[in-house]
Symmetry: C2
Subunit: 184 residues, 2 copies
């Protein structure tokens, strides 16, 4: 499975592509950070991000996009820009019929370090080790994009099982409703 | 000037097109609300909104898009969805080289009712009167989209004057810097 990880942002948007193999085997194929100048109008910044992300999707042809789920806890203004960037990235995926999954920062940290409250340095260290990289990925947004893609690779079997269980439950509900209707 | 007003949202996204004439004259050309089901994946909802908005842009060919500026004050989760929807709309405008302006809810209310803290009923009443509509626009998102477009029409001369003043100031700064350099 080929996963594109995205740490969305207007000023810096982290992008990565990872290929998962057997078990927990993961191989980094690409990683980069898109930057857009803060004095540009918002719509131009979103266009620059969208163009780069679309180019990545068309070049790497990922099976799924893993995007960081944004919360408005900390800096509300930054969160808005991050959400807008995430929106155009999800849109680019939908246009290509590529599946999109959102993971929270603590899900990502937990998947990669075993601790949902790990700091940036710990995440970077673990990413470097897991992917057997020659050097630590910088800036933090690049490391985060790699962590997101790894997180998705490792959570994918569980996500698939949950989706299957939900589909089964929905089918059972439909069957039960049909029986009830027939019994009336 | 033809202005498209957008009250962004995932569940309901208000769209309007207004043409401004002499002075404060404004004519409503179209208004509608795009709805997307909340049980659809986010990326599909964004795609549905983007497709409709792009169709409106290509049909009505607005000169400018006026979008409501979202704040994360109230409901943070809703605000995130609203920001994502706003992002894909701004992107659609950027792809067509259409200018985008954001107006805050209180700027819109102040422009339309004279009171930045007017309630929804007051805004709807004033919109109906200003546009000489046969009936009140519903739902509120439709009225808001019309209010946004009117707000932009009426604020546009002031926005243009501010942009001109800023450009003049920047030119003066550059001239002064060049003089300083020459004097050294």
């Amino acid at each position: 499975m080929r996963v594109m990880g995205v740490d969305p942002g207007l000023t810096r948007c982290g992008l990565s592509v990872i290929e998962s193999g057997r078990g927990r085997q993961v191989i980094a194929l690409d990683v980069d950070v898109v930057r857009t100048p803060s004095d540009e109008p918002l719509q131009k910044r979103l266009l620059a991000i969208s163009d780069t992300v679309e180019h990545w999707m068309d070049t790497h042809r990922p099976d799924v996009i893993a995007i960081e789920r944004v919360f408005a806890n900390n800096n509300a203004n930054t969160a808005m820009g991050t959400a807008q960037a995430g929106g155009v990235i999800a849109l680019a995926a939908a246009r290509r019929d590529i599946d999109v999954h959102f993971h929270t920062p603590s899900e990502v940290k937990a998947a990669v370090t075993g601790n949902g409250r790990a700091d940036k340095a710990q995440v970077t260290t673990m990413i470097t080790r897991i992917l057997a990289l020659q050097q630590k990925p910088t800036p933090a947004d690049a490391a985060d994009a790699l962590a997101l893609a790894i997180c998705h690779c490792w959570r994918a079997p569980m996500i698939a099982r949950m989706a299957a269980a939900e589909a089964q439950a929905a089918a059972a509900r439909r069957q039960y409703a049909a029986k009830l209707k027939a019994a009336r």
